[in-house]
Every structure is written in structure tokens, then in C-alpha cells.
Symmetry: C2
Subunit: 300 residues, 2 copies
Amino acid sequence: MTPLLKSFLEKWGKEVDASLRRALPQSSATIHKAMRYSIFAGGKRLRPILVIAGAEICGLPGKKVLPTACALEMIHTYSLIHDDLPAMDNDDLRRGRPTNHKVFGEGIAILAGDSLLTFAFDLIAKNAKLLRNRCPLGDILHSVAEGAGFPGMIGGQVLDLEMGEGQWQSRKRAEQIEILRKIHERKTAALIQASIAAGAYLANAKRTQIKRLQEYGKKIGLAFQVADDILDRVGNKELLGKKGSDLVNQKLTYPALFGIESSYQKATQLTEEAKRCLNPFGPKSNVLKDLADYIVERTY
Amino acid sequence: MTPLLKSFLEKWGKEVDASLRRALPQSSATIHKAMRYSIFAGGKRLRPILVIAGAEICGLPGKKVLPTACALEMIHTYSLIHDDLPAMDNDDLRRGRPTNHKVFGEGIAILAGDSLLTFAFDLIAKNAKLLRNRCPLGDILHSVAEGAGFPGMIGGQVLDLEMGEGQWQSRKRAEQIEILRKIHERKTAALIQASIAAGAYLANAKRTQIKRLQEYGKKIGLAFQVADDILDRVGNKELLGKKGSDLVNQKLTYPALFGIESSYQKATQLTEEAKRCLNPFGPKSNVLKDLADYIVERTY
């Protein structure tokens, strides 16, 4: 990790954590505990960092988009809580700790997820107020709802669910590749893309700028998922906080289709493409370029 | 039911159904089927009707708020899908048909709910665009997110869950009454209140108008829940489409605390109070007043 990226992540990671702490209800009610439990479970804060970087590269100080940054982390966290449920991936551990439903029960876990998702949209509305409505709130909502909803993340999880336990193995290879691309684009890339776009929208960026950043977001999102699949396969329990389960569950992943070596190449190629999208931004894009590199770096 | 209310419900019920049909994805994907299954399961469309009536009483034609009307119905439907899950109320039937998870499995039911909730916020954003952003989108979002989220509906479901299976019986009576009030206010009244407020906000209503309509919405929401508790107790399977399960599950309800006779009185009192909130609107409020009466009527 470059010193530039390191200091950016440290600075904004702290700011995001402080904002999340302020935003979330502090009460001892079980559901509030459940919400805080998963929000403060040691996530990398990639999505909020991208909201902030997206705003800053378009000229708006990161401080001004903290509510939306928190919103995107809440949407990400709700999706993890629901994905871990017994009816979905049935995971007992995440980042080395028991999953939400293991601690609070399934009912509260479902409601904690619902609550985080709902609260996220409230925070985005609050952010527009903070900017005195000088931002295209409707566009931001549409972009986030698409990234998080059926056209994006939820659709990816549905496909993932339908292709679990080797159900992809009976398909033709061309179809397998097509389905894998769809899962990666929707399950992971869509919300990452929506995160950086949200920052740009809040900064009232031009359409061409937003398009470039969306393209960058999509590429690093795909790279991120390939890297995650590699990590699940080659191990590194420490980073994952859990044993990789993709092989056991016969999941459709990049390494499963192309092998480890080709997966590394794919991830590297994607990050190179991602960085090229940012060239028109000049030196302002250095942090985002370093971030793209780091996504593959961390798999070694 | 008065002829005025009947024709209003028929006209707008059809419009809402047509809008929902247009808004929802038509594909044969399982999750889309699951979303449509619960949306078109014969609901009363109370919340969308209130969005429309709230707009019309403040001078905006109902046609202009159909996307938000659909959004509120989607939020209501997502909450039913999640509430019926085995980890929550564990209901096999709703309105005489198997519940969502019984037909599509728990995983898809959770995701169909998540998808409806997310899509709802997209529709609200679309509605603002339809009105050329001449409405306080941020206020609408905040109001809907509060009504649907932890301060409202989700918080009510949490309390309901925590008080299930007779867990309220060990509390003191004053505490029981207080908890019951909170459950009703949050679980049912909050989203009903947010529905009528959304219509008024979209019509750029004055603050005093919005306050009166919110008060009306809260009162009929409470009346509605008392009436529902009565129906669950006294039967009428036809209307409910399921056997009342509150007694078996030892739920904290109005009839459980005060008996049936007193519950009827309470519901009637609430609808009278609701109607009084509307007096300043004059004859324009007749439909909403008839609606208030109908809520208690249907329990006889």
C-alpha cells in the first residue's frame, strides 16, 4: 500500500467510523445492538471511502458527503447480515466473529438488516439537506437503488443462490462464463459503482465525469470479487476471518472456471483498465489509482 | 361503505393495480414472480389510497402521485413477507393463500422483501422527477424512512417479537398498556401516517395541513390495528383469510388487555377523533372521513 493511500484510508476510515457512531441509535435495545454489532465488525469501509473519493475528485470536500458514505456502508452491512442467514449462505462466522443471527437470532438479524437499509435512504436525504439541496437527490437515489436492488446487488445474490451447490456445473461453458460475469457485476460491482457515483453526484459532477467514475467503479468491483474468490481458495484465514467455503459449497467462482493463475491475471488486467478510466482527472486521481492496485496486492 | 368511498376505492384501486403491474419487472425470474405473488395477493391498497387522498385533499390530482402510492404498497408488502417468515410470526397462510416463503423458499422470500423495499425508494425518486422536482423530496424520504424504519414499523415488529408468546404477561398492567400503545403506534400507525403525509408533501401542502393529516393518519392507523385485533379474536376467517392466531400465540393485543366490548369503543373513539382532525378541510375531506368510519364498520 502506498503512503498516499494509507493516510487517506486512515484519515477517512476514522471519520467514517465516527460518523457511523453518531448516526446509529445508541440505545441498549436488542435491534440497535444488532445493528452496531455488524457495522462495527471491522469492515474495510471500501464503499464509504469511494463515496468520499468520488466527491473529492470532483471538487467537493469529503466531509460534505459523510452521511451518504455511512449510508453506503449500511447498505453493504445489511446485505452481509441477510446473506449470512441460514436460508442463504448459512455462515456462522464473518471476519472471525459469529454472524449476526448467531448472536441475536434470525428474527432480529432480518430486522436489523431491514432497518439499516431503510435508514440508509434517510441518511442520503439528510445529506441533500446538508448541501442545501444543491445536488440531484433523485439521481443519487435512483443510482443507489439500482446498485443495491434487483438490477444490482440483490439480483446478484439471487443468481448466486440459484447457482449454489454446483448447479452451474450442468451448464455449457460459455453459459457458465456469462453467468459468472453477471454474478460479479451485480453482486459486487454494482454497489461499488453506485458508491463512487454517489460521491460524484453529490459534487454535481458533469455527466462525463460520472460515467468515467462509474466505469472505474465497475472495473475495481469486478477485480475485487475475483480477488475475493482467490482469497477464498488460497486461504489466508486471517484476512478473511473465516475458512473459505466456496469449494465446499461448489460455488461458481473465477478460480473454479479458470484456475488460480488466470484469476490473478484477470484481476490485474481489470485494475489496469480501471486506472486508465481515471487518466482525464490527472494527479487528483492518484489515491483512486493506488486503491485499484491495492485490491490485487492484498491477495498476495 | 358509503357510495362516495366505494367509488373512490374502486377507481383508485384499479389505477394502483395497473401502476404496480407497470412498475414491477415482468420477467419469469423466480424473484420477480415472488415479488408479484405477494403484491397481487388481494391487499386492500389502504396505504396507496391514502397517498392519493392525501395529495387530492391538498389540491394535487391523484394521478401525479401513483409512483409513491405504489412505493408505499411495496413497503407494506415487504413487511408482510418478512413478518410471515419462520423466524418471525411463522405464518403459513395470508389472505387464504400460502405465504411467500412457503411458495418460493425462505431465501427468495427474504430477497423479494429486500427488493421491494429498495425499489420503493427508487419509485419515490421517480415521482419527484415526474413533478419536475417541485416537491420536497428530502422531507418525503425522511418521513417514509421514519415510518417504515426503526422509529416506526420495524421498531413495532421488534417489540411485537419481544412480547410474543405471553412475555408481556409478567409486566405490570400500566406497563402492558404502554407497550401495547407503542406497538400499535409503530407497527401499524407509523406507515399509515407516512402514507397520507407523502401525498400531502408531494402536493406541496402547508405545514399545518400536513400536521392535521398526520394526526388523522395516526388515529386511523391505531383504529385499524384495534379493529384487526378484534377480527383476529372474533373470527371472520373470510375477511382475514386465515385463522386468528393471536390467542394461541399469547400476543399482546387490545382485546387481550381490555376485552372485546372496550376494544370496539376504543376503535370508534379513535375514528371520531380522526375525523375531527379533518374539519378544517371542509367537504373535500368526506372521502377520508368515510374511510375512517369504514375501518370500524368492517369489524361488525
